[in-house]
Symmetry: C2
Subunit: 539 residues, 2 copies
Amino acid sequence: MDGRRRSWWGWGWEGEGPNKEQTERIAAGLATRFGLDGLRVAEPARLEDLDLPAPRIRPPDSLTSFMSSSTYDRAGHTYGKAYRDVVRAFRGQLESPPDYVAFPDDPGQAAALLDWAADAHVAVIPYGGGSSVVGGVEFDGRGFDGVVSIDLSRWDRVVEIDHTSRAALIQAGVYGPALEDQLRPHGLTLRHFPQSFEFSTLGGWIATRSGGHYATARTHIDDFVESMTVLCPSGTIESRRLPGSGAGPSPDRLFLGSEGTLGIITRAWMRLQDRPRWRASAAVRFNDYFGAVAATRAVVQAGLTPANCRLLDETEAAMSAGSGGGVSVLVLGFESADHPVDGPMGRAVEICAGHGGTTPDGVQVRDDHGAADAGSTSGEGSVGTWRNSFIRAPYSRDAMVAMSMVVDTFETACTWDRFPELHAGVTESVGRALKEVCGDGWLTCRFTHVYPDGPAPYFSVFGPGRPGSEVSQWDEIKAAASDAVLAHGGTITHHHAVGRDHRPWYDRQRPDLWADALRAAKASLDPAGIMNPGVLIDP
Amino acid sequence: MDGRRRSWWGWGWEGEGPNKEQTERIAAGLATRFGLDGLRVAEPARLEDLDLPAPRIRPPDSLTSFMSSSTYDRAGHTYGKAYRDVVRAFRGQLESPPDYVAFPDDPGQAAALLDWAADAHVAVIPYGGGSSVVGGVEFDGRGFDGVVSIDLSRWDRVVEIDHTSRAALIQAGVYGPALEDQLRPHGLTLRHFPQSFEFSTLGGWIATRSGGHYATARTHIDDFVESMTVLCPSGTIESRRLPGSGAGPSPDRLFLGSEGTLGIITRAWMRLQDRPRWRASAAVRFNDYFGAVAATRAVVQAGLTPANCRLLDETEAAMSAGSGGGVSVLVLGFESADHPVDGPMGRAVEICAGHGGTTPDGVQVRDDHGAADAGSTSGEGSVGTWRNSFIRAPYSRDAMVAMSMVVDTFETACTWDRFPELHAGVTESVGRALKEVCGDGWLTCRFTHVYPDGPAPYFSVFGPGRPGSEVSQWDEIKAAASDAVLAHGGTITHHHAVGRDHRPWYDRQRPDLWADALRAAKASLDPAGIMNPGVLIDP
């Protein structure tokens, strides 16, 4: 990885993110916003000061050849990258690190590890990019003799490309950028850009039903899986490569969203796209938020399928789109590798106008044919700019952790008929919790994905925290948010997964008999119950 | 049902289908085609001549109040509507009729029936419209004390419509026409038109992962389910109504394709569409079949999503599109409720021209706004004409049964890279089997659905049979076809389901560990194993 090293406590590469001066400037701005004297910027715990408990297990030499018990590896694999994870790591609170971190070179080594772990009563936590924000890779080891985090990042190759069917066989441990780098020379792309893109893997996307780049139509990774191979403690499952099938329930759909509880996804045939050439984008402004909501609904129900269809509420628009305040903004984008997209964009803008939307900046249309930047990830014009700022956001979040800001997000999806009530309920509950817990703060909402039958609203929370209490403060706000989401017909997660953090609400959301069926399936695939215990279901 | 009665042995309503004179004309034409002296047209067995074995079970009076043991009901529920089913019924071969047919008024009655059946060791066969062509509703009772077919046709109402989210809560026993009749006054439609439309139900479509009207993009019923309620022997599962979710594996996806083995789908919230207004259609002719295949692939990979994209090979084009022979025909159709579709149609025709396609009849464009026929199912212009002829095809099939023709279809899906080989392999194997078994015959191929990564080819077989041997003749051809499909990377079924007839090939196709997981899930939902035994998996 070109000499860079990942931060063991925060997002991304060591040394990336805002520098000291930039951080102080952010702190000063936030202090002013919240009427505080100032925000103290703390320093993260130092790796050399960590005193991790010694490993409780002693795997055989045949396994330790690809395992590590270094403080760096164990500390870095203790948590995911939720706000509460970063806060705890930042403060050096690492009570339950994995005993070992395994880096198998191939599924054979992973299978050997699973065999040993089942016998030795050791829990195995599959680890892709470690970007979970729901406690998906954190386990306290309760009920087991030890815990091994199995880091799959060595499985990082595109194995085979089928140009005719526009699909590729891809190892599951590949990170987003490395995956796109391998597809680009072929003019192909997976076009799956979750915010975690830089530090998440294909296998992680599949295991968590990741929501992708597209705002409409097929966007969840679910729709792009052609077949997959899963290594379970009881053996390997490989589904048949097919464009579609009606032969019984889809095996793939059981593993999509299984979050490491059934086995380890080792590779998958994925449906690819040609790299887009034509683009059109527009920012539509609305004085009335619910007029904007109605317009968004009308666009997607008209059968238009914009790649980007992100409705920012007034606060979000002011913060991230420079709207100047007082207006909601619908960011629309169409793109195609085959044909100009002025037509659908024109129709979308027309629909918005019928709901009071205006486009003072007009529509931007581009044809990237032969553009010099067509080959690079970083420079793909406005989409690239947006994407780069989007995927760099977690670095800023970490800077705010240092100044004890409570800053995190939550997301859901609901049908359109429920949205006004859900929006009001969440705003009221989270607003009250913020006031009680932080004294002040703000809550913003944007749609990340939009379906004909409902939106996926994504909320961001910012409030000044108390050093040492940030985790409990956030947990209180998050509980209020989750209660409100459930009460008003939303799902506890649209694309962040369930993990351990969402369990209480997931348990209320999912039918009990479904949990029974899932438990039974797990018992047949993972008889010793070693795979990611506590996620989704209890044994 | 307006006084009409369904045929107990064949497709559809009694008295529909070709009359005696039309049948004789078909027979004469076929005799000429196959160089035979003539084809004798037999008469079906008479209901009053059937001598069914007496019911072996005596359900309690509380259940028999909604159960029937009449010869008409038992005979009519003995088989589905595969060729082999119709032949056997036509000849009065009804060795294993269900002991009773239940017609529950509500899920409460169905639940009482399941409770009793689990205790009494009686198998329960969910029966929607009975249109299965894969042995999905036929059971010989082996290992059980009796068999009850549970006919859900009384659950036939649209319960609630959510106009905002464009979705409806629909009882699962509703037939296609009755469903559309209830949605039409609201300007809405499910737009799911499988060939069985007239005699299949929403619950059946869900249980079998039915392939719908659309040739591209979202077309399987899977994509239109927002949530569902399933009555299992161990209780009722109701999933949450959501436009999208990432909360664990999708519960709905376990029941989609479960073919009655896990429980009875009682109702579902379904995603609806506005009724289309703008349409464009074209028939593109190709002298080279594989040029036509390449054009079809290019159209769908360009991100164009025609509603109709059916590639007919030379024989199919001559038979059903009057092409005059020697050319393959790609039937293209675009439609929208919101905007004209000339743009994408123009681009599709342009792509086809690049592959040698010509459109001597040009493109037909229509705007149905305010059209007098917009309200009727039967008269929706060219689409309606095509659909009516499409859904009436099974009546003609039954007429050919009377003249001992071997006439059936099979379908699959494969990735584009495998298609030439699969096409050659199937053509060779089935051609040889037809020659051996029937002496002569023909095989046609069309694409019913097309994905960016592969087509769903649908094959039709016609050959002269020997009276009394038709079933074994067809079984031999079908085995050759299924072997070839599997050997060349296809799925044993794209949208006809697995049932009992496809079991040997499904068992080779699906991973063994997947069958274990499915068995475990079934054991938790149906502990006594009474639900549709032998379909998909053995206990």
